[in-house]
């Protein structure tokens, strides 16, 4: 975690977060250089999703420092003693630089696939419609969905929906892609096609942070792996270390069970 050479694409330090009295994140940090693929693994309930959602402020963390492409996120402490973003505009701007892919796709069902993909470029970034469509079509071709561009999400299989949602996230040119278990809502036969797309993104040198249960895949594509346990980083390092020679006893157990 301590590799700070040039400006990192994403730098998150010492994130704390409670739900009510229940402290779920207890000082989690993460740094990703441009081109890094960071996998976050851990058992169910180890707060992986919560941490990922804190990164793009879908959950507002109680404490922590955030830097996206060198830009600091400013917070102010509210009357409740917790942090609040001091400038929601900034958050909104930064969010469009952090493409999020959800486990359950979350495509907007009242729009066709193409409309889903161009929604943010046109309405958030203000790109003109024609350019956005060109770009979207290129991306849909890349994820192999060009022929489905005018279909509504409900008519696509899970794998196709997930690929569409990846295209949607890519279309705003995010500097970092965030994936929250992008394959676990898919049945085994559909997982492959989505992993293929993600792998091609990794090969392109995209910066990515990915929560996943696919150990084999994480091992293959990641530059770093982070093992979360009860809201703390229990082990982190290159995949060879985390999977091959974990230091922490819990991580050892988890990795052993994962490759059953």
């Amino acid at each position: 975690m301590r590799t700070e050479t040039s400006t990192p694409a994403l730098l998150v330090k010492d994130v704390h977060k409670s739900f009510g009295k229940h402290e779920v994140l207890r000082g989690v940090s993460l740094a990703a250089q441009k081109g890094d693929v960071v996998s976050i693994i851990g058992s169910s309930g180890s707060r992986k999703s919560t941490f990922l959602r804190c990164i793009n402020f879908l959950e507002i963390p109680d404490r922590g420092t955030f830097q996206v492409n060198g830009e600091d996120v400013t917070f102010r402490v509210g009357r409740d003693g917790k942090c609040h973003p001091s400038n929601w505009r900034q958050i909104e701007r930064l969010r469009s630089g952090l493409g999020m892919v959800f486990q359950s796709f979350n495509l907007w069902p009242h729009m066709t696939i193409l409309q889903n993909v161009i929604e943010a470029p046109v309405h958030v970034l203000g790109i003109d419609r024609k350019t956005a469509i060109e770009k979207a079509e290129a991306l849909l071709t890349k994820v192999g969905l060009y022929d489905k561009k005018d279909a509504y999400p409900a008519f696509l299989s899970g794998g196709q929906q997930q690929r569409a949602s990846i295209a949607r996230a890519l279309c705003v040119d995010p500097s970092v892609m965030l994936f929250d278990e992008p394959t676990s809502a898919l049945d085994p036969e559909l997982v492959g096609e989505v992993l293929k797309v993600i792998r091609s993104l990794a090969d392109e040198g995209r910066t990515m942070v990915m929560v996943t249960h696919e150990m084999k895949f994480a091992r293959d594509v990641s530059t770093r792996v982070m093992f979360l346990h009860r809201g703390q980083v229990e082990e982190a390092g290159p995949p060879s270390q985390v999977f091959g020679a974990p230091i922490s006893a819990r991580c050892k157990e988890f990795v052993a069970a994962g490759s059953h």
Binding site: N56, L58, W88, R89, E92, R93, L94, R95, S96, G97, L98, G99, M100, F102, S104, F105, N106, L107, W108, P109, H110, E119, A120, H123, V124, L125, Y152, A154, F155, S165, R168, A169, V172
Partner: protein
């Protein structure tokens, strides 16, 4: 059965049918706009606006339309002449008419029901879709405008169709504030001729026809976004 009177009263009937349609259109359009405000403020974080909207909906859903109409027309309306300047203003010819108050009461009432439905529909939009919108950097306002409301309206669409039909059926009440809508026309004809059923039957056919039309329009709107059907139920 005797329908000779239809010709004799045709102007009255035509005008009545026209008024019925106008009242329906006005109250649905304005009521729906007001309903959006009511629904949004009910799901907002602002406690004051939430309570105001809640109170509004409770009152208008909790009392009969007839009483609301009387309160607005005979109550509110009877104080209007005392508003300085209003009697001489260009608004007066409109504002002293029963039609104005009938439209107002119907609109306010429709908004209350619609606001409740829309609120439910907004809560029924899967949270993930809203998060996806926030995650691409949309502001709260844009999420509302581009994703939340359009989705909620679609979810509520089947219910809205029913509500518009209910609204149509509520319009006869305006006759009690001197608006000669179609039902009012039928009432007059019944009093004149002492025919009991024929005028009512005539009116019924009109309402059923209009209902059919409304249902068709909404069906068209629903079909605009195809949804995959669940099979086997």
């Amino acid at each position: 059965m005797e329908f000779g009177w239809v010709l004799e009263y045709r102007d009255l009937l035509l005008h009545g049918a026209f008024l019925t349609c106008v009242l329906l259109a006005i109250s649905v359009i304005f009521g729906f706009s007001l309903a959006i405000i009511l629904a949004v403020s009910q799901v907002s974080d602002n406690a004051v606006s939430r309570w105001i909207s809640k109170g509004y909906c409770t009152f208008f859903r909790g009392t009969p339309l007839l009483i609301q109409l009387w309160l607005i027309y005979y109550g509110l309306g009877s104080y209007l002449p005392y508003v300085p300047g209003l009697r001489t203003s260009f608004l007066w010819p409109v504002m002293r008419e029963g039609l104005f108050f009938a439209a107002l009461a119907l609109t306010l009432n429709f908004a209350a029901y619609q606001g409740e439905i829309l609120r439910g529909a907004m809560l029924a939009v899967p949270k993930g879709e809203l998060e996806a919108a926030r995650a691409v950097g949309m502001s709260a306002r844009m999420v509302l405008r581009r994703i939340w409301l359009p989705r909620a309206i679609r979810i509520g669409l089947p219910t809205f169709a029913g509500e518009v039909v209910l609204q149509l059926k509520a319009t006869p009440i305006v006759f009690s504030v001197t608006v000669m809508d179609l039902y009012g026309a039928a009432y007059k004809i019944r009093q004149d001729t002492l025919l009991v059923y024929e005028p009512l039957l005539f009116v019924t056919v009109f309402y059923v026809g209009l209902t059919f039309l409304i249902t068709q329009v909404f069906q068209k709107m629903e079909n605009a976004v195809p949804v995959q059907r669940r099979h086997g139920v």
